[in-house]
Symmetry: C2
DNA sequence: TTGAAAGCGGTACCAG
DNA sequence: CTGGTACCGCTTTCAA
């Protein structure tokens, strides 16, 4: 590991000049520039990030905050983020927070330009106070998968997604339709599931259908709780002929429960999910697709731009679409 | 953001003493210690990582190198890693490398104690030269999912996994058995798929079965290539009655292809995978389970220990087990 | 256009 | 047990 002064010596200049050249500042003679570049090349010089960070007071890392980063949808977003970030030379520091208190603690810690150059929140909505703090210390925030006023973000129209799902089921002839989604008093105050449900119910209402309360199962996120919720639905006197799950992971739990009960899909039950994670194809799951990887890539793009220039308050809406596979069909007659 | 000298001033001591207290060094009077701690507490002091790194010449971050970090098996390992690492205060810096050249470049870059305190390789095997370099610069390497001599690592017995799969299929009565796995001239020189196949064929040989070359499909990793490979298998004059896929992701491609062709699982075709990723339950996939999340957690543990003490050259073997679900059954009669 | 020097915020060695 | 001080490697005025 060579240092800047070694490069300087070799090029016959001062460290200050090397710094200028390497940071692309003006006011350097071309001849000097090329000599420095050559010396740096020959020494295989790489600047010390720690020293740069300390001297500049600003880190070249992007902090990524996520909840359940290993769950497929988040992982796919992360993949897009990472790929787009890699060429930039910024380090991607991952914080996978499991609780609301951790989330707060980490976010507080990251409000420091010497710690991270920018922070990307995945499916996490910052509070106005948090936004104010970051604004104050000068660390840009970008949000992936949530629309937050004044912040760079990517999002989808969850209500539209709920409508797409409802129309698809209605079009197939279903009338007994249930919903499985996230509990809404969750500590992350994340409204995607609720938005999808509300719009979903809305469209059902248009068809003079009404979601009976026992047809609405709000459970913790994850496959198993959704599976149990589906089991409860199956045990009803009048079980539904179709289930809309607020995420593909939950839909996979429904599929599992259906299998346990010997229900044939889609003959006995139609299932529609949300996200279109990679495994949904293998599962044959009909779903409302959102561009997961792309959302991460946009997040990275916004993050890099926020560092270079200023945050622009850009809100990027990503498209939703219905992907029909074999988990949906007409209701049993 | 307060600095160490502010804490020092408030406690009426020197910065050196604050440093000692905060780093838990001995030779500090109890009264002094508590005064410093109080001052730090009151100021909400957090040491600057950049400054610490620079002064110590050693970073408090763990660099994680992975290929296809968004694929379910890797993402689950990452989840375990992250969870176990979080309380340690080490930053997790993720490098998701897509090519062999990137892999080399990143690894070279990480061979620097000021860059990362330790590096964790997920399903990536370092070359002897690379190991030597890291050894020399004093950055410990730990490997998750590969057995590497002299290195701390976690691994599974892939051959045993291949045997488990073969025996399961044989026990069900299958005789026409095909294999779908990774191409073996892949740029990451990763042998898991090959090991599984070799042992698999071995057991078949015991039953005087022999994998015809057209029954062995080696394709790039991912769902789609596996799907196409399965389609080729189905198009054979004598299509197999069972397929062993070297990973669950590939198995999901097989399931998809079977569906496309109108094959009923497991009546017309049995499928067995490897990994037991989360979505395998929903897919009803029989598989050879390996503890993915746990492997990541162990990786983190080994990494932390390698920083604290020295790398111990610990090789942790994780257990494999057959998980029977609905994708396997007797062959069609 | 270039260099000298003063930090950035800690750590660690050496005296006392 | 504690303080002074010399760096760690780079950036950034300020002068020349």
């Amino acid at each position: 590991m060579s240092t800047i002064s070694e490069v300087a010596k070799r090029a016959g200049v001062s460290a200050a000049t090397v710094s200028r050249v390497l940071n692309g500042k003006r006011h350097v003679a071309d001849s000097t520039r090329s000599r420095v570049l050559l010396a740096a090349e020959e020494l295989g010089y790489t600047p010390s990030r720690a020293a740069q960070t300390l001297a500049r007071g600003r880190a070249t890392t992007v902090g990524v905050l996520a909840h359940m980063a290993s769950s497929p949808s988040v992982a796919e977003r992360l993949g897009g983020l990472s790929a787009r970030l890699a060429p930039s030379g910024n380090d991607l520091v991952l914080f996978d927070v499991e609780s609301a208190s951790r989330r707060r603690a980490v976010l507080r810690e990251l409000a420091d330009p010497e710690r991270v150059g920018v922070v990307v929140l995945i499916s996490i909505r910052p509070t106005p106070e948090e936004i104010a703090i970051f604004q104050e210390v000068g660390v840009p925030i970008v949000v992936v998968d949530a629309r937050v006023p004044d912040l760079d973000c990517t999002y989808v129209d969850n209500m539209e997604g709920g409508r797409l799902a409802a129309r698809a089921l209605l079009a197939s002839g279903h009338r007994e339709i249930a919903f499985i989604g996230d509990i809404e008093d969750n500590e992350f105050d994340f409204t995607a599931s609720r938005d999808r449900r509300v719009a979903f119910e809305d469209v059902l209402g248009t068809a003079s259908l009404q979601l009976d309360s026992e047809y609405v199962q709000l459970v913790p996120h994850g496959r198993s709780p959704a599976r149990r919720a589906a089991q409860r639905l199956f045990a009803l006197d009048a079980p539904p002929t179709a289930i809309f799950a607020a995420s593909d992971v939950q839909a996979s739990g429904v599929l599992e429960a259906a299998q346990d009960r010997g229900l044939e899909i889609p003959r006995d039950l139609s299932v529609i999910g949300f996200d279109d994670i990679q495994s949904s194809r293998g599962m044959g799951l009909t779903t409302i697709r959102q561009p997961l990887e792309e959302s991460g890539a946009y997040g990275a793009k916004l993050a890099l731009e926020a560092i270079e220039h200023q945050p622009m308050g850009l809100a990027i809406e990503l498209p939703l679409s219905l992907v029909s596979r074999r988990s949906t069909g007409p209701p049993p007659t």
